[in-house]
Symmetry: C2
DNA sequence: TCGGTTCCGATGCGGTTGCATCGGAACCAT
DNA sequence: ATGGTTCCGATGCAACCGCATCGGAACCGA
């Protein structure tokens, strides 16, 4: 068992470098050489960790997706005392990546979304991240609508058709609305069509309307 | 006055080729050579029409932005009889580019948005398209909320602070919500996280809620 | 110590890129 | 015709791309 290296750790290190470059110059500005330089490894090391560039990008996408999701989960774990209502607000704000310190993540996310539109491989990776996020928001809405926090894992049953399942369909639509709205606002902020404050205002207004309707 | 060429026409012709390529392979898949081939002109002609590749992309972006906006305007001009409420629905659906035949435009639009996030020049071009669209939707909402169709051009006054101006601030927020939601849904559909039908459902539900609240 | 295995840095290669260049075709007023 | 302009197609170029290759450094069990 000769020279051993923390491959997974190095992969993450390289993925971070990829994210940095994507943030600065977009996905087109990512070259193996630049990635190697930013990650402070040689090109050979990069090529050892990832068989091809596409594989590297895919890993980087999953990497940052996990980073965002984890921040959302941490946010939820931190303040479970408040109402589910205000929690959704926090989560939405977290997903929308409106705060200045998350602007980089937002740019990266958007770049990958656009790439995924013409790259099935990236699209598949992206979808799994989205699915996680949606499930999380649906659960939050379901709890808010009365179900309580009991058995939070068995939400995926789609077949059962009673009053509760009906309510959950509404929850799902509203979850999808919030997530799409968040993504749209993020994009608008990134291109400078909307300021972060304006976006926050729009998001807030939507959430207020949402709770008022219930 | 020697050999004269319809420069503007050729520019549009080239822009169409750019859009085709962006739709197929994303913005990175756009090379001067391929553009020339698709536009059925020589590379020299492309280089004569646009000093640089960036200039060409900018023109193409404005080109397709205008194409979408024009379709929206045409949609409005076609059916002015219906209520402003249902008209907004039509416009939103038009902007969201959910229908299969507009999927290409959606991909192109998304690609440019992502590029604009790291390219100030494209961002500026994109913003003007967005501003037009937003003004249009705001006007539609203002008409729906009671002002009627009178003097549809003087909507941009921001200073006046009376009851009417207040109502218009709400309209503006709702317009921004609808537009961001449409863009977010478009992105979700393009990456396959959402089907077009689901997106349509979400959009419809939002609009219904919007009118119910008034 | 040493043999075997894993890792990596350097280098090379074929292909592609955006852009510059330029000779000549196309055209019109004269 | 012809001269002056405008246009364009072909070609060249330097840079860069992703990827393959490979000799040797690094390392560990025996």
């Amino acid at each position: 068992m000769p020279k051993q290296v923390d491959h997974d750790g190095r992969r993450r290190q390289i993925a971070d470098a990829v994210c940095l470059l994507v943030d600065e110059h977009g996905l087109e500005g990512v070259t193996l050489r630049d990635v190697a330089t930013r990650a402070e490894v040689s090109m050979g090391a990069v090529q050892r960790c990832f068989r091809t560039k596409e594989e590297m990008l895919r890993f980087a996408l999953a990497h940052i997706g996990e980073r965002v999701a984890q921040r959302v989960r941490r946010r939820l774990a931190a303040g479970p005392a408040q109402s589910a209502a205000s929690e959704l607000g926090l989560v939405a704000r977290e997903v929308a990546l409106l705060r200045e310190e998350h602007r980089a993540e937002a740019r990266i996310w958007l770049a990958f979304i656009a790439a995924a539109a013409v790259n099935p491989g990236l699209a598949a990776t992206l979808r799994s991240s989205y699915a996680d996020l949606e499930e999380l928001v649906v659960r939050l809405l379901a709890e808010a609508s009365g179900g309580g926090a009991a058995e939070p894992t068995e939400v995926r049953a789609e077949g059962a058709a009673d009053g509760v399942a009906e309510a959950r369909a509404v929850d799902r639509i509203e979850a999808r609305t919030v997530l799409a709205l968040a993504d749209g606002l993020t994009a608008h902020v990134l291109v400078g069509h909307r300021t972060a404050a304006e976006a926050e205002e729009v998001l807030h207004a939507h959430l207020v309307g949402l709770w008022g309707r219930r």
